[in-house]
């Protein structure tokens, strides 16, 4: 009977004390977040910001204690919010501008991508780590706010709501910078420090110093329904912008077999529908067209910088669903050619929403789109599509279309300045300007006084650009159709 005795289970080898020390982070936390927190909290940037924040706040609190002023509580609030806003809305998002770029530069990203981590998990982990560090800083200022309570005059709920809003906006801004950091090109990553920091600082200063934060606190008492709606929409759009930049970053670094375009487009269109629904059902119905234009700009930047789908795995889920799936593919496949279809739809939606709602209630009796607004709509589409035409006609083989697209826009901005100098020298001949109306700065100059003739001329130029793009897109659609045929054969072979 001794044969039936099961063999003893070999004991697991003892864990070396060095390895046994590895239990400080839970397995439930994202690996990238664990790594980033380990690294990030040891960096000079984090420790310096954290310590400086504490020192300044402690010093301010000390001054408040020794000062003899009736308004000291408000001043402390102002100081706490100002410092936290600078840290959360400027410094922490700035740290995101190198988050993924460093990994790309050091070739550590591709080693990471060979693991089970998807590009999305890598980017989300980076973002979550920075937001966690901001949360740590938020937690560290709570004791100062508790102390400030004893100085009196505190609107507890409003101030907490403001603090949470700053944190939320910080998370959105950090998402934007982390998303941009997926580009190797410095030109793209430098956009935030170059434009965001000065404007951000000016905004924060004006909110917390000039108005002493009072107007802002009033907003967070949530007394005015219209203000609440604006705040809600602002936060929703910030959330979308954060999501959009993260997704756009992810699709820049993702492997070819991953399809991020479909989800991005669907989320953008659904969020646009929700926001549009909110506007249409509110008193702010006249602003509906701006909702469509806002989303169009984001969607346009994204779809115009996507390369056409080339991998059977991406096409297969659509082909499996038959003709309806393939039809959906023509607006949801990755690539600028399907993006052009989406943008065409958005153009007609903009015109329809504008005609139906601008300056009146839903289908009211007042005239709809004004000539100026039509000019602006054409200008926006012109701005979106002309760099796409340049990109696809002259630089189709370029490996980084996003950077090139942004580069064209930046160059056009510089060109605007030169044109402005030229027109001021030639005593403002706007006919010259009209030729360069695809440049945002230029059409914005003309828009205020746009006449019917100028609108027609702009429309004509836009139509030319659109037609050329359709011709170029036709070739891409032919490639997509042959890819679909290849996938159909593969699927049929599998079935057989």
């Amino acid at each position: 009977m001794s044969d039936s005795t099961p063999p003893p289970i070999p004991a697991a080898p003892p864990i070396h004390p060095v390895v046994a020390a590895l239990s400080d982070f839970s397995d439930r936390i994202s690996p990238v977040m664990v790594k980033e927190l380990r690294q990030g909290m040891r960096t000079r940037a984090f420790t310096s910001i954290f310590l400086i924040l504490q020192v300044i706040l402690a010093f301010a609190m000390f001054l408040a204690l020794v000062a003899d002023s009736g308004n000291i509580g408000t001043s402390i609030s102002q100081m706490v919010f100002l410092l936290f806003a600078i840290v959360a809305l400027i410094l922490q998002p700035l740290r995101g501008t190198t988050a993924v770029a460093t990994e790309l530069k050091d070739a550590t990203f591709e080693i990471m991508s060979l693991t089970r981590l998807s590009s999305m998990r890598i980017v989300l982990g980076k973002w979550a780590s920075l937001v966690s560090q901001t949360a740590l800083m938020l937690a560290s200022i709570i004791p100062y706010l508790v102390m400030r309570y004893f100085f009196g005059g505190m609107q507890l709920f409003a101030e907490l709501a403001l603090l949470v809003t700053i944190f939320f906006l910080s998370a959105c801004l950090t998402a934007m910078t982390v998303g941009l950091s997926c580009n190797r090109a410095v030109i793209v990553r430098a956009l935030v420090p170059l434009f965001g920091v000065p404007f951000g600082l000016m905004g924060i200063m004006s909110l917390f110093i000039r108005s002493r934060g009072n107007n802002l606190i009033e907003v967070f008492t949530f007394q005015d329904p219209e203000t609440n709606l604006v705040l809600g929409i602002f936060l929703l759009l910030s959330l979308y912008a954060g999501y959009y930049f993260l997704e756009m970053g992810v699709s820049r670094i993702a492997r070819s077999a991953e399809n991020h375009a479909t989800r991005k487009r669907l989320v953008s269109l659904i969020l646009m529908a929700i926001t549009l629904g909110i506007f249409l059902s509110s008193d702010a119905i006249a602003g509906s067209i701006f909702v469509v234009l806002f989303f169009t700009c984001f969607i346009g930047l994204d779809v115009c910088t996507e390369d056409a789908v080339g991998v059977p795995r991406v096409v297969a889920p659509f082909v499996r669903k038959g003709p309806i799936g393939r039809l959906l593919g023509y607006i949801l496949y990755p690539g600028w050619h399907t993006g052009l279809v989406v943008l065409t739809g958005l153009f007609f939606l903009t015109i329809f929403v504008g005609e139906a709602t601008y300056k009146r209630g839903w289908l009211g009796s007042n005239p709809g789109l004004t000539e100026e607004l039509i000019f602006v709509i054409i200008g926006i589409f012109y701005t979106i599509l002309t760099p796409l035409l340049i990109l696809r006609r002259f630089a189709a083989r370029i490996s980084n279309p996003f950077t090139t697209y942004i580069g064209i826009l930046v160059l056009s901005g510089i060109f605007t300045i030169l044109l402005m100098i030229l027109t001021s020298v030639s005593r403002g001949d706007e006919a010259i300007l009209l030729l360069f109306a695809w440049i945002p700065g230029v059409w914005m100059l003309i828009a205020d006084n746009a006449s019917g003739g100028e609108v027609l001329f702009m429309g004509f130029l836009l139509a030319i650009v659109w037609v050329i793009l359709v011709v170029l897109a036709a070739q891409e659609f032919r490639n997509t159709r042959s890819l679909e045929a290849r996938v159909r054969d593969l699927l049929n072979n599998d079935a057989a």
């Binding site: 060095v18 397995d27 380990r38 060979l114 693991t115």
Partner: protein
């Protein structure tokens, strides 16, 4: 089944063709060396195999999985060790491996055990608390190997792992690769140190300008282009080396190859040692003061250079 199958792989960067219709296969469980000069297309090919780059055309599969359509499956089967990779600042060796173990799906005790195994194998326990960006080249390579082995891959793709290593670190790395080969892993390794690859590889692939120019084992390379009816002898003498040139010109079984500092290389039209002994005795009897006479051993580097010279001859574009 082939562990790696490359069929008509072409990789272009703009107008430059880095890899040109390359085809080969690496049998499962073999150690295959991938040899070529800088810019021959080795790294480009390896990156496609590791599913890091998308090929211009051609098919590449690892253990039957196409690298384009099934990158996730390929990545779970491959351990990739690039020639150069940055390490993380503010992160110890132990934390580095912990991160990758988590990223590969290990958790709890299993993660600790796997890290321990890899650290013991790669001899990393002693440097576990060192920051990973402050390691020597040899330690960095050991850490890279440890990281590549964390998920116990069936195929190990190593791009120039011995580059920049000192002799001691090179011997250690060679030992580790030998142990992995004994465990039955398929190892695809590129290096410019041919003698080392010759010793440890079952199979060698030689590429030049993106094309495969020879494949086989070390012996096949050594014999490549070698005339089986003649042998080269290295002859040293006291006096003017041109005496040997003149002597070879009037002796029918000997052909002059090139002058050396104190002698010359001579080709004898036989592989029979008796014939060599006869030639030596004739030299001495003709008054040449021979100080050294030996059969020239050909090493892999010489053979490879000869091979490349053959390939570059206009009339000999394809040797396969």
């Amino acid at each position: 089944m082939s562990a790696i199958l490359v069929n008509n792989l072409t990789q272009k960067f703009g107008k430059f063709t880095a890899v040109d219709k390359l085809s080969f296969e690496v049998p499962k469980g073999s150690v295959c060396g991938f040899i070529g000069a800088n810019g021959a297309g080795k790294t480009t090919t390896m990156r496609v195999i590791a599913s890091l780059d998308y090929p211009t055309s051609g098919d590449v599969s690892v253990m039957g999985y196409d690298v384009i359509n099934y990158p996730a499956e390929v990545r779970s089967l491959i351990g990739w060790m690039p020639d150069h990779f940055g390490n993380y600042s503010h992160m110890t060796v132990l934390e580095y491996l912990d991160f990758y173990a988590r990223a590969l799906g290990y958790s709890g005790k299993e993660r600790q055990l796997r890290i321990q195994e890899v650290m013991e194998f790669s001899d990393l326990l002693a440097i576990s608390d060192r920051f990973s960006d402050k390691l020597s080249k040899g330690m960095t390579q050991r850490l890279g190997l440890g990281r590549a082995l964390l998920h116990d891959p069936e195929v190990l793709v190593m791009d120039e792992p011995a580059a920049g290593l000192d002799p001691k670190a090179r011997v250690e790395l060679k030992h580790l690769i030998r142990v992995l080969a004994e465990e039955g892993k398929t190892i695809f390794i590129s290096s410019h140190i041919l003698s080392e690859l010759g010793e440890m590889c079952d199979h060698l692939l030689f590429v030049n300008e993106g094309r495969l120019v020879h494949q086989g084992d070390a012996r096949s390379l050594l014999n490549h282009g070698r005339d089986s009816l003649s042998t080269i002898y290295n002859v040293q003498l006291v006096g003017d080396p041109n005496q040997l040139v003149d002597w070879a010109a009037v002796n029918p079984h000997v052909e002059f190859v090139e002058v050396l500092k104190q002698g010359a290389r001579l080709k004898i039209d036989s592989i029979d040692p008796e014939k060599a002994a006869y030639v030596l005795s004739r030299m001495i009897s003709d008054g040449l003061k021979i100080s050294d006479f030996h059969l020239e051993a050909r090493n892999l580097e010489d053979a490879f250079i000869d091979l490349l010279q053959d390939v570059n001859k206009p009339s000999n574009q394809s040797l396969l």
